[in-house]
C-alpha cells in the first residue's frame, strides 16, 4: 500500500462514492481539499509505522492540532 492511498486530486471521487453508498452525497461533495489533505497526513503517519519492526520506525513527530476535544 502506498503512503498516500488517496491522492488529493482523486479524493473527491472516492469520497463521493463512499458517501453515496451511505446515502450522504451532500456531505461528501462539500469536503474541502484542506480537510482531505489533513486526513491524508494522518493516514501517511500511521502507514509509515505499519509493517515495520516495533520500536524501529524512523519518522517525524506528528502533533495534532484539531479537533480541540
Amino acid at each position: 500500500m502506498s503512503a498516500s492511498p488517496l491522492a488529493p486530486e482523486s479524493g473527491h471521487h472516492v469520497v463521493a462514492a463512499i458517501a453515496a453508498s451511505l446515502n450522504l452525497p451532500a456531505i461528501a461533495s462539500e469536503i474541502s481539499a484542506d480537510d482531505l489533505r489533513e486526513v491524508l497526513g494522518w493516514l501517511s503517519a500511521i502507514h509509515a509505522h505499519e509493517g515495520q519492526p516495533a520500536g524501529d520506525q524512523e519518522v517525524d513527530p506528528v502533533l495534532p492540532t484539531e479537533p480541540s476535544v
Binding site: L22, L43, A45, I46, V59, E66, V69
Partner: protein, 464 residues
Amino acid sequence: MTGLAELSLLDASEHMRQGGLSAVALVEFFLERIDALDPDIRAWAHVAADSALAAARGLDEVRRAGTWLGPLHGIPIGIKDIFDTAGIPTEAGSALRKGFIPTSDAAVVATLKRAGAIILGKTACTELGHAFPGPTRNPWNFDHTPGGSSSGSAAALAAAMCLGTVGSQTMGSIIRPAAYCGVVGVKPTAGRLSRVGMVPLAPTLDTPGTMARSVRDAAILLEALTADGRDAKVSRGAPTRPAATVGVAPGYFRCLDSGTQRRFDEAVRVLRDQGHALKELPLPKTFHLVGAAAQVIAHAEAAALQLDTFRERPADYSETYRRAIQRGLVIPAASYVQALRLRAAAMRDISHAYRQAEVEVLVTPAALGPAPHGLASTGDPAFNTPFTALGLPTVTVPMGFVEGLPVGLQIVGLPFGERVVFEVASRYEAAAGWARCQPDLVATVNRARRHGEPGASGGSGMEV
C-alpha cells in the same frame, strides 16, 4: 471559618461533619454566587436549584440523625452536561439534545450521589464534547477561552461556584481547560471510570475525570468515583514515601511561548528542590505518531456514531462538527485498524521507556501556552492527546501565570499509577503555592461591564 468561596472541599466537609456548616447553607451560598457571576462567565448549562436544595435538606437530616456518608456528604458538585442526570436536562451543548431530560443517572453521577454529593447543576461544554465552543468565558479574563470541552467544569471552579466538578477528555478536554482556568484537573487511567450514561464522542478515547481547586480535593472526588471499582484507593495527595523519580522529555514539548517555558523550567526546579530525582525520558518513536492515530480513531468513531443522526438532522450540527464527520467518513477501515494497532504498540513502548529510564512520572507543560485570546476556539490539545490515546493517568496543577493567565504543569504516570501522580502533584502544589490564587472577579466583571459586553449586566449584587 474561612470565607466559603475560599473553602476547600475537604475543609467544607470537615466543618459539616462537625456540625459547623450545613449542606443547605453551602448550596444556598453557591446558588447566590452563581446568580451573581454566571451571567458573565456562563459556566452553567443548567442550575438545579430546587433538587440541590431538596438533596441538601435530606443530607442534613441524615447527618443530624448520626449517619455520615464520607467526605462528599453534602458537597455541591457540577457535572459536565454530557453525563446523564435524572430529572435534570442533559443537552451536551447540542441542538440535537435540546430539552432532553434523562430518567436515570450516568454511572459517575449515581456513584457521587451514593457518596453524598449534591448535584448543583450541569456545566457547559462544547458541542457533544467536540470542538465547537460553548458560551463559557475564562474567569481570569473574559476575552479568553476557558478551554474545552469541559469548559464550564473548569470555569465554575475557578470562579468558586462549586467545590468540585466532573468532566471528560477525548483528547485534551480536562487537562487543557483546567490549566487555562488555574485549577487542578485529573484524567484518570482509561477504563478506571465508567462511561455508562455519558454522551460518546469517540468511545475508545472518551475518559471521565475530575476537577477541583486542589490536588487533595480532586483526589477525594476520584476516590469516591472508584470506591466500588478495581484498584480503588488513590492517594489524597499526602506524601507517604520518598519523592518519585521524575522524567522530562527535552526537545519534544517545544511548541511553547517563552513565558510558559520559563514557568515550566521553574516548576522542574521546584520539583528538584522537593527531593525529586530528575531524569531524561527518551520518548519512543511510536509516541510521536500516536497523535495522528488518535485523530484517525476519533474521527472514524465520531463519524460512525453520528452517521444516522446526521442523515436525519444535518442542520442540528455545527459546521465544525460537520467537517469532523466528513473527515471521519473518508478514513478507510483498514487505516482505522492500523491506528488502533499503532496505539497498542505505543502503549507497550511508553511503559518500556519509563522502565528503561527508571522514572515514575513524566512532567510536561499542560498546554502550549496560556488560554488563547477569543472564544471562537478552545485551544490546542497537542500536549494532551498522546497521553489520552495511551490511556495514561494525567494531572494538571497550576504552575504560575503568563501575562495574567494561568498555566499548568502536567504530570503523567503509568496505567493505574494515580497514587504516585497525586503524590508528585501534591508535593509541587504545596511548595509552589499557585493553587491558592483566585481570579479577581470583581475587577474582571466591572471591566466587562464598562465595555458593555453581552451578559455583563446580568449579574446582581456582586459579592464575590
